[in-house]
């Protein structure tokens, strides 16, 4: 299985270097230098590496678990009645702060899927179709309650800007298997909805880690990577000549002054030139075949979440370590009944397709997939923004994991009768990070970087726990 992806990569490299023609760039460079640049700091891993890579599906805005993942018949019974104060007194609320709190029953039906009989929303038939492959967590909690800090917390384990995001941590620790693609890639799609919440570039920043671990955004519009395309009028051959001249001159200069930075610079120009070919090749899904496109439900160039899922698989094949997909516009303070089905439809088939596709390529076993928002939503109705919706909520949210040593077809944790707070197997974002690192073969509490005097860790300093119960 591993050999498959390695082979694909070699073939891929072979294709891209054809464009070099007479410009024999590779000879300018000691290949081991490039490898050194993409190797992680951890070396031999202390734990078995179940996951070689992560695909993290971020449903930005905070999808309602009460309509998608966490069925609460009792809440349906209480529909329209005041939320018992015993639940909410003294709690942090966002837009409902100081408002009258009324229960809102689930707005969609639930049904049981798969052999495991996991209860999921009628809005998620495709994910239901792979229910036996996923592990649903209903007892996740988070610290933050506004979008921006909550994303920061989910991505970096802290609510203060300037911390590295998890993709940066992972590539810092493990490096990247691809020689011509970044180790940490971010892609973005937006639901055809109303008014998506903003996402800041800090969400994939490398913080205090070296900048080379920063997430690189692959964009569906314009240059797929910023500044990737050569200037107008400059063909690959002309560009190649410039690259060759730059590296030749840098090499001549290196002979005069002993500065190891020059060797690195030469290597980085090599990488940049390769990326100019490899990234467009990666992004071009026209060659994927009708069957695959149909499986995901996407068209080349449509910029959809489904397209991004397919690209995620292509990146995974090529050795990218951490792939994060954002799908925006899940912030349903209002119009939840009208908008949620649209968002669900945009992601449901593609998520299932990703699992199926990875499985058929033998990559599901060493790819960790995580599906999560930045927080959950309240069992109380929000009516002050138009037709009924739900407010931000951090006491309970649902998410799922799949692949790479995660138990399949199980549900972990639960919430109280009204879905207000996690009550059984309550777990935290720090635990989630610890678990992810554990599956990658990294001991989370020993994986640190000294910053401002502290051994800063992705999983925090407060004793995060690997969620052992969901591990196979």
């Amino acid at each position: 299985m591993h050999s498959t992806s390695a082979q694909t990569r070699r073939a891929f490299l072979g294709r891209t270097t054809q464009g070099l023609g007479s410009v024999a760039l590779a000879s300018l460079l000691q290949p081991q230098l490039l490898n050194a640049a993409s190797r992680g700091v951890l070396g031999t891993l202390p734990l078995p590496q179940k996951a070689k890579r992560v695909i993290w599906l971020t449903m930005a805005g905070g999808p309602s678990q009460l309509e998608l993942f966490d069925h609460k018949p009792k809440l349906a019974e209480m529909d329209g009645k005041p939320m018992p104060e015993s639940f909410t007194k003294g709690q942090q609320l966002a837009q409902l702060q100081g408002q009258k709190l009324v229960c809102k029953g689930p707005m969609f039906r639930f049904q049981k899927y798969g052999k495991c009989q996991t209860e999921l929303s009628e809005l998620l038939p495709h994910i239901g179709g792979v229910a036996d492959d996923i592990c649903l967590v209903r007892s996740m909690t988070t610290d933050a309650i506004n979008h921006d800090p909550a994303h920061m917390f989910m991505n970096t384990g802290a609510q203060i800007a300037g911390r590295p995001s998890m993709g940066s941590w992972v590539t810092y620790g493990l490096g990247c298997e691809a020689d011509d693609l970044p180790g940490f890639v971010v892609m973005m799609s937006t639901g055809k909805g109303r008014n998506p919440q903003p996402i800041a570039a800090r969400q994939w920043n490398s913080g205090f880690l070296p900048s080379k671990y920063q997430g690189v955004q692959l964009r569906s519009l314009g240059d797929p990577v910023l500044y990737l395309t050569s200037p107008n009028g400059v063909t690959r051959e002309r560009q190649g000549r410039d690259f060759a001249a730059i590296n030749a001159l840098n090499k001549q200069h290196a002979a005069l002054c002993d500065d190891p930075e020059i060797a690195t610079r030469i290597a980085q120009y090599e990488m940049a030139f390769q990326m100019q070919a490899s990234v467009p090749e990666l992004m071009d899904i026209r060659g994927e075949g009708a069957k695959t496109l149909e499986l995901y439900g996407c068209q080349p160039g449509d910029g959809s979440f489904a397209s991004n899922c397919l690209l995620a698989r292509r990146l995974a094949e090529r050795g990218t370590r951490f792939i994060q997909l954002y799908h925006r516009d899940w912030d349903h303070h209002s119009l939840l009944k009208e908008e949620l089905p649209l968002r669900a439809k945009e992601v449901d088939q593609a998520c299932a397709a990703l699992i199926k596709d990875l499985k058929q390529r033998g990559m599901f076993d060493d790819t960790l997939i995580v599906f999560s928002g930045e927080f959950g939503r309240t069992p109380m109705a929000q009516g002050n923004k138009g037709p009924i919706g739900r407010d931000h909520h951090n006491k309970a949210m649902s998410m799922w994991l799949a692949g790479a040593g995660i138990q399949r077809g199980v549900t972990f944790g639960s919430t109280d009768d009204l879905g207000y707070a996690a009550q059984e197997n309550t777990t935290t974002v720090h635990d989630l990070h610890a678990t992810m690192l554990h599956q990658l073969g990294i001991q989370h509490d020993a994986f640190s970087f000294k910053f401002q005097g502290l051994d800063a860790r992705l999983s925090g300093v407060e004793g995060a726990k690997v969620i052992q119960k969901i591990l196979a």
Binding site: L33, A94, A200
Partner: protein
């Protein structure tokens, strides 16, 4: 093996080389403290809540009392047996901490105890001690060489003149020297030439720009608020303040006072107030659902971290939740420091205020001039005017009639109102009064085109014959939203259901010349000059009376009024009320406007019963409408508009303003803002540092600022000098610039850092004095190349036995390319600018969605530090070269070397344009064959001649690209179109394209973007 690989190997060897021997005499700060701090203090340190076994090792007495060790007797000490034991249960640090002592560290601890286990106060909390420097000697050189002699290294030779001048230019002004400046310097053999060059660069106005870059990182200066919508806030004048402060060599103590307490200084000026914008540079939010208490806490902690970092080199952040584990900071210290800023007036949530006007001399003159003219006109208006008495009496009569007739009108209380473009927000109250305000956000984002259309819905009674629209004088100076208080109602139409209700006649209580009421019903809604206006009488209510062509034939008939305001500049009615009447035709406006309720009341009082005050009010009311004063009122309105326009367009800056009521600051247990059980604290200075006794009053920000730059504060001067050292040598004397605490690095040359700190304070915090010493030192002037032996002995050049080469900062990479190409516009200061940025880079921003608009003209070619700093999406070209997002204070930028840098230098239109414009210079400013031109070009960029090998590479490139472009003229056109700079039609385009490639290669060279 190639040289670089070989070097890498050496560097690696350096890292893992055998550990240095254990020193004969153990020194606590140098040898022991770092071990204890990193391995033991987490559980046995300052934080009582996290202390294990009730043992603390950070205080000697406590450690001895707890029998952790017996001074002088290592063999009998618990600590020693615990670190050497093989038993995992007893081993310290415990295995689950993932900390492990090396053999050397264990030996040091053992030897230290044997030698008596002496403690020292942490080095940076001790007052710096100034080493004696022989007269006439440079302190830097003396102390560096002393240290080199101790470790057996020798200084390197002086660099050549070209390297020196390039180094000085880049370090002091951030721009490369011109080849002729290099030539002149090379020729000048006088011994004073170098020092003269330093002096001239310190006087160069670009010096302030260069110095500002680092400070702006430390204070996290950016153009936007940071959180969520990341909208703009007005702070750019602060950036210019910083530049000017460096240029005028404002001493650092004063610089500090102005930034932390510029509003509280007894001699506060516009300049010091702008300096106090420092306190406002933090992150803020406009996110709906954000809780004030949450963000109040975020802002407090943000400020404490900033002051801790920028001035004290202290990492205070941990104390938000608990006492510091490594340094003596307590949670109380943290919140007490935060309490200094509890007086700052600011919205906790939502939009920042526009800020104070920041005017240059010309602006201040203009402001004074407008104020003077306005005062004169107002005085003229206020003069008693007995000559108006007869006219007033006539008006009183008419007005009383109007009041009486008004009884025939019923106000329409059930009204809903909306505006089509949302430039004006309309709200109707229970009395039917509709109030409009200009939408500030749309205005600020320049989405407001100044026009709008109101739609008012109401119900009319059966038999209604007329409708009245009253423009009400409320709190605003005028009755319209325009800056002169006017409005122009282009058209009003009435519809009932689907049918238009025709209006037969329109009249008004007042008509501006050429803006009569009749034009509001003439069917023309889209002609600017066509509508009902009221300039000259905007100080009182004015009404439009509409006579319906036919009375309303049904009861409770729904009607919609559409009011179009097409003049622009927000010439819309501010507040209005609708009334209807069933009076028989004709429906006409009274001869005078209906007076306000209070005046109507006075008019109803018999003249002899009116009080003096009432009489004065009548006179004042009449003045507002007296036709005799029309001209004067129009003049006042015009100047008022001029004033409003001037103020709207003037630069503004949010600054510190001290509020009389302060926010309550509590210690938040575990940093939890919902937990209000913590003790309330007042502003206070950290307990572990020397501080002045101030009694009988609360401490202010001014006290804090004065304490930071008092000579008793051991941290500030060291922190600032350590950062300055990095600017000139590439690494701080203590490597961790933002942490001079226990977990930082003790300085490699403590005597030198202390001397610099003392000299800085003794000079009166004179920054240029310190730069002069550093730049003139022989240490600074050494070559940056190394020898194998030197690299092996000191791989990271911490001892300064040579200079270090390092890549230019992000802003300077840009400045350098623009300078070489000749595109740079060297203007200093002004609003932030928007050079080319890839389209859709901001697509994930929202509230509102935004698209970056490239500037045009000279704004495309300004220095990098003027680039618009969007915190959530920092300019990608700068980001690639490690410009921080400035969400948090950054004392130390990364210096990464990543492929994105290659993509930027090759493909960003800024650099492609620079290359093609540089190419045009090559063709027009140099002569001769290709080799001669290449030589000229390399001199422009690198201030040296190319080697023969370099010439060969570049001339071969030129020939190949030229031959290629000659076959493909369309491609040359495409390439040369990049960027807005014009292309000279006189140049051969394939040659120009080929030279653009040569230029591009030169601009991409490692040497070009490196200061060595």
């Amino acid at each position: 093996m190639t040289k670089p690989t070989c070097l890498l190997l050496l560097a690696t060897l350096g890292l893992h080389a055998a550990e240095p021997p254990v020193p004969a005499k153990i020194e606590f700060n140098r040898d022991v403290q770092p071990i204890l701090s990193d391995n033991c203090f987490y559980c046995h340190g300052n934080d009582p809540k996290h202390r294990e076994a009730d043992l603390r090792l950070d205080i000697r007495d406590e450690a001895v009392k707890a029998e952790a060790f017996i001074p002088g007797k290592a063999a009998k000490s618990e600590l020693v047996s615990r670190i050497f034991t093989a038993d995992a249960d007893d081993l310290m640090p415990p295995p689950d901490s993932h900390k492990k002592l090396t053999q050397r560290q264990k030996d040091i601890l053992k030897k230290w105890i044997d030698q008596g286990a002496a403690y020292q106060q942490h080095w940076s909390y001790e007052k710096p001690v100034k080493a004696a420097i022989p007269a006439g000697k440079n302190g830097v050189d003396v102390l560096v060489q002393q240290r080199l002699a101790q470790i057996g290294l020798k200084p390197s030779p002086q660099a050549d003149a070209r390297t020196l001048i390039r180094r000085l230019y880049l370090d002091l002004i951030g721009l490369p020297p011109k080849p002729e400046e290099v030539a002149a310097f090379e020729k000048d053999a006088s011994p004073a030439a170098y020092a003269k060059l330093v002096e001239s660069l310190l006087k160069n106005p670009h010096y302030g720009e260069r110095m500002a870059i680092g400070w702006l990182d430390v204070v996290r200066f950016a153009d936007t608020i940071g959180y969520h919508s990341d909208n703009p806030h007005n702070v750019w004048p602060y950036r210019d303040y910083v530049i000017q402060s460096f240029n005028s060599n404002k001493h650092f103590d004063r610089f500090t006072l102005e930034q932390i307490a510029g509003d509280l200084l007894p001699d506060a000026t516009q300049e010091t107030r702008v300096g106090s914008a420092f306190n406002r540079l933090l992150l803020s939010t406009e996110e709906g659902g954000a809780q004030a208490k949450d963000y109040e806490q975020r802002m407090l902690t943000d400020r404490v971290r900033a002051v801790g970092n920028a001035w004290m080199g202290q990492t205070t952040g941990c104390c938000q939740c608990h006492d510091h584990k490594f340094d003596p900071w307590t949670q109380r210290d943290f919140y007490s420091l935060g309490a200094f800023f509890a007086d700052i007036k600011e919205p906790i949530l939502g939009r920042r205020e526009p800020g104070i006007l920041v005017l240059d001399a010309a602006g201040q003159k203009r402001q004074a001039d407008i104020a003077e003219r306005l005062t004169l006109l107002q005085a003229e208006f206020a003069k008693p005017r007995p000559e108006l008495a007869p006219a007033q009496a006539e008006w009183e009569k008419q007005a009383l009639e109007a009041v009486t007739a008004s009884g025939m009108w019923q106000p329409l209380k059930q009204v809903t109102a909306s505006s089509a473009k949302k430039n004006v927000t309309l709200k109707a109250d229970k009395e039917g009064v509709v109030r409009g305000t200009i939408d500030a956000k749309r205005n600020e984002r320049k989405q407001n085109d100044g026009t709008d259309t109101y739609t008012l819905s109401t119900k009319l009674a059966l038999g209604t014959t007329g409708i009245r629209i009253e423009a009400l004088k409320e709190k605003l100076p005028g009755i319209g939203l325009a800056s002169n208080g006017n409005f122009v109602l282009s058209e009003v139409t009435l519809t009932g259901g689907k049918n238009k209700l025709p209006v037969a006649f329109a009249s008004a209580t007042y008509e501006q010349k050429t803006f009569p009421a009749a034009t509001a019903i003439d069917g023309i809604a889209d002609k600017k000059e066509n509508g009902w206006g009221v300039l000259g009488a905007t100080g009182a209510d004015q009404s439009l009376y509409l006579e319906l062509a036919a009375p309303v034939t049904e009861a409770n008939a729904a009607v919609k009024l559409t009011l179009t305001f097409g003049w622009g500049e927000n010439h819309e009615i501010a507040n209005l009320r609708l009334s209807s009447t069933n009076s028989p035709k004709p429906i006409r406006a009274p001869g005078t406007s209906l007076p306000a309720a209070e005046i109507a009341g006075i008019l109803k009082t018999e003249p002899e019963k009116r009080t003096l005050e009432q009489k004065q009010k009548l006179t004042a009311a009449y003045k507002q409408i007296a036709p005799e004063l029309n001209d004067l009122r129009a003049k006042i309105a015009t100047v008022e508009k001029e004033k409003a326009d001037f103020e709207n367009n003037a630069p503004k800056c949010i600054v510190s303003i001290s509020d009389t009521t302060k926010r309550t600051v509590r210690i938040l247990p575990r940093g939890n803002w919902m937990d209000e059980s913590g003790e309330v604290v007042k502003a206070d200075l950290p307990g572990y540092l020397p501080k002045p006794k101030i009694e009988g009053r609360d401490l202010t920000r001014l006290d804090l600022a004065q304490w930071l730059v008092s000579k008793d504060n051991p941290l500030t001067a060291r922190t600032v000098m350590n950062r300055l050292w990095k600017q000139f040598f590439g690494t701080g004397l203590s490597k961790v610039l933002d942490d001079l605490g226990a977990q930082g690095e003790p300085p490699v040359n403590p005597a030198l850092l202390d001397w610099l700190a003392c000299e800085f304070m003794d000079s009166g915090w004179d920054m240029q004095h310190m730069i002069r010493i550093i730049a003139n030192s022989a240490t600074y002037q050494q070559v940056s190349t190394s020898t194998k032996a030197l690299t092996a002995a000191d791989p990271y050049n911490r001892e300064c036995a040579r200079q270090s080469p390092f890549r230019l900062d992000a802003e300077l990479v840009r400045d350098n390319a623009l300078t070489i190409s000749g595109l740079l516009v060297p203007k200093i200061g002004g609003p932030s600018v928007k050079p080319y940025q890839p389209a859709k880079y901001w697509e994930n921003l929202n509230f509102p969605t935004r698209e970056w608009q490239n500037d045009s003209g000279e704004s495309l070619y300004r220095r990098g530090l003027y680039t618009w700093w969007q915190r959530s999406f920092t300019h990608p070209s700068m980001l690639a070269f490690d410009a921080p997002s400035r969400e948090e204070c950054v004392a130390e930028r990364n210096r990464s070397n990543i492929p994105q840098q290659a993509l930027v230098l090759l493909n960003d239109p800024t650099y492609v344009e620079a290359a093609r414009v540089f190419a045009a210079r090559i063709l027009t400013e140099s002569n001769g064959d290709a080799n001669q031109r290449i030589t000229w070009a390399v001199q422009q960029a690198l201030q040296r001649k190319p080697s023969s090998e370099e010439l060969k590479t570049l001339s071969a490139l030129f020939a190949q690209q030229l031959a290629d472009y000659k076959k493909d003229p369309a491609a040359t056109v495409e390439l040369l179109k990049t960027g807005a700079a014009p292309v000279s039609p006189n140049l051969n385009s394939s040659e120009l394209a080929a030279w653009a490639h040569v230029a591009r290669v030169i601009l991409n060279l490692h040497e070009t973007i490196t200061r060595s």
